[in-house]
Amino acid sequence: MRTWLLMFAWGCVEPLEADEGWTLLEPREQLIRLSVDLRGVHPSESDLQLVDENPALYTDFVERYLQDPRFPDQITDRFHVQYLTRTGDLAVDADVEAFGLEEDEVAASLAEEPLALIRQIVAEDLPYEQVVLADYTMADPITAWMWGIERPVVEDDTGEFLPSHYVDGREHAGVLTMTTLWTRYPSAGVNGNRHRANAVSRILLCDDYLARPVSFARTQIDALTSGDPEDVIRETPTCQSCHSSLDPLAAHFYGFWWEVDGDFREQTTYRPEDEPLWRDHADKPPGYFGRPTQGIRELADQIAEDQRLRQCAVKTVFEGLTQRTTSDEDWAELAPHRAAFESGVIRDLVRSIVLSEGYRAGADEHDRVTLKMVSPATLESIVYQKTGYRWTMDGRKALSANVNGLAVLGGGIDARFVTHPSHDPSVGMVLIQERLAQAAAQAVAAHDLDPEREGEAVLLALVNLDMTPESHPAEFAQQINALYLEITGIPLPEGDPQPEALVDLWKRAYSVEGSKEMAWSAVISVVLRDPRLLFY
């Protein structure tokens, strides 16, 4: 609150009042947005009809979708833009093939160690502070094997991530003591774990030391090059503006160290006896922004009490759900969400955001984001929902797994070189939607028009191979209208020229290809490329 008043006093920002200037989407569109964000798929037509008839039911659907089993994964994906562990190339030194595993399969499992804890916090409504306070880690069989974690034996083990324990003597402090995180964010010996300290600050507090401008005075640089850099850092106020808090934070992570004699596996090994090594390097005792700590567990306690931890979660979830980048100007708009998150329960935070007018808006006087674009992985998921067709390569989901860089082409991230998603419809995304739509359309047309599958149609329930536009014009028109409703969730308005245009397309395609299946495939592919599948 004090910060807010100060900003007014300085006249730095001209904040907008919350809920100012928005025009809401139509009820159906609101429900589609909600479902895509919380479940990764469109709502059913019966749900859409209900909210169409009674828009007030939106709040009921919020509660229903918040309980959907897909919800925790959707929110965990939002946190991944902070953790960035799904790089597909986490260090794997073990001979994984000897165990019948592929390297990317191992990397994919390891990447989930911190994210599995987020998922558990969301799914079980645990206090968000559990992210650093959990006295366990999360492991599936592969992660347990790779990192030497003791994973409980359970009946009918499905291989999911379970609360588990390291047995190498480390204390457990949620993500702070996870080997995956410190493998993703290693620290060169001479840098004394500062990379790791900054990762903690950036991921958990949304405060990136490296985003601060650095301005070195000549005398400082001269001193750095001629003497011991650590002395200069200690004695120079400019350096201390960051290092006074960064170095004590870094001092907690010496149990994970750097390579020893060229063996980089040392980075993945925790040695309790190395914890005091900070004395030999930066010589800053462990502490958290001026308060001394005794080890990593106390650090976790301090972070858990820091209000920036929750503020960062609010920012992360809000930006993920709205596709907006927040700044001081958004402070007022975020205030009710921060209040809702006083429970520490992510579900309460999400509820607050998705009920707000800003989230439900389709237009805005101030040009804030009111038309969002699905991620490549969500497009893949929606097309699968609509058609039953999955775009896979070598058994991997082409867009979710970023096979051959396809997800990045569509605006996704690779968590290493591309770390910010793009929500604009690039030519890459246009081509992805086109080719995915064509493949799915062919598959569904072949399935639905197969005389041996009568009654099993996914999309083409109103036509068959005996029908032509000339013989059954009414059925064709009904089928095309039904396709739009089923695929986009929005009925075509009365008098829309699209059915007629698609009947014409069917005729022309049939005249070129001589195949009714291909003609329907062309029609379906057009509908699957509708902008309403890309935007929501």
Partner: protein, 429 residues
Amino acid sequence: MFGKFSRRDLLSGLASFAALGTLGTMAGVSRQAKAASGDRKFLFFFASGGWDATPLDPKFAEDGVSPVMGTDMDPDTVLGVRGNLTWSSGVDRRGMDAFFERWGGYSHLVRGVNVHSAGHESGMQWMMTGSSASSIPDWPTILASHGSIDYPMPHLVFSGPAYPGNLGSAVVRGGGGSLLQLIDGSINGRVDRPQEVLPTPMDSMTDALVYERAARFAATKTGFAQQRAGDLLSNLERAMELEGRRFEAGLDRNGGSMLDQALMAIEVMRLGLSRCAMINIPGGWDTHGGNQNVGRQLHEFFLDLDAILDVLEVTPGTTSARLLDEVTIVCTSELGRTPKFNGSGGRDHWPYTSMLLVGSGIRGNRVSGSTDESFVSMPTNLDTGLEEEGGETIGTEHVGTALLQLGEVDPEQFLPGVPALRSVLRNGA
């Protein structure tokens, strides 16, 4: 009938459609590509990891052999000189010598560039955007978005960093080799449940309807939503243009090396398909553990750069005889490295680096900026590039605004009040 159907015809027809409705008033929608463009193009090379800046900013005493105090030069290197340019020469980096001998007249070295950071990720962002704000697009994205024509692939990122900011619709990340397969549709023959590649006539027919549908959708929107829907329309046009040109672009010669990627970039620039491209310079540049491979990596990079300039010289440009006169090459990295070796014989992170600018619009055979013997940037007159008391420390933002000026983009829109490093501009634009 459909065999003669051209995507350009389609676009013309659809432009008429758009003009009938509210779309005719939307900026960026249905822009017709000009037959030719005099836009300057930009080819970026990026050494991920933070390259050693001393090879392009050598610190030798007058004898050209002894390193000056304060800076360790790589063993067995000596001063290389060509005109006003100097570099560290050695048997492991003969490619540098050859390059500057041939192309020194086109080359401008920028020294002591402050990247405002000692971290990889933030240094990369500062270098490419002149800012730490993630919402700001990088230089090539801005340039690509402000060309005089609507390029099908405005900024093509083969590899290396990409900061699309709020101009993401202009960025095509071509990594992984999937772009060509998406363009020609062959990707659907390679998936686990392969499907037929649609014959061109059907592909074209569906494109027309999809475009029309997207145009109607955009027309129902206002403000931001209309702009984003308009971006979809622009990119539908670009996709159709690309599909129609797929065999001309030479993208099927897809290779993974830097030179392969550069040749493809040149080809798409020649065809007017892209204005900017980004390519990663291979090698391990993050040399904490030892600097011994830097010379070899520079040798290989400069050999490739030499070949790239050869190609640019013999390739006809859009409005000039040689593409070399229309393409500006920018070679950079996110950091410099410490002037002194560390205990491993490597170099750690350093916030001052060197850049190399070559080609169109660049004042060749010149150096801008300088560092002292401790490798700290000296105050510089941004108009002359010479050291001057009371001058500015050259920052990434000054180089970036100069590039924007070179591309005829007003830098004030993006970094207001930041002066350009005009000394690098041939005409001081």
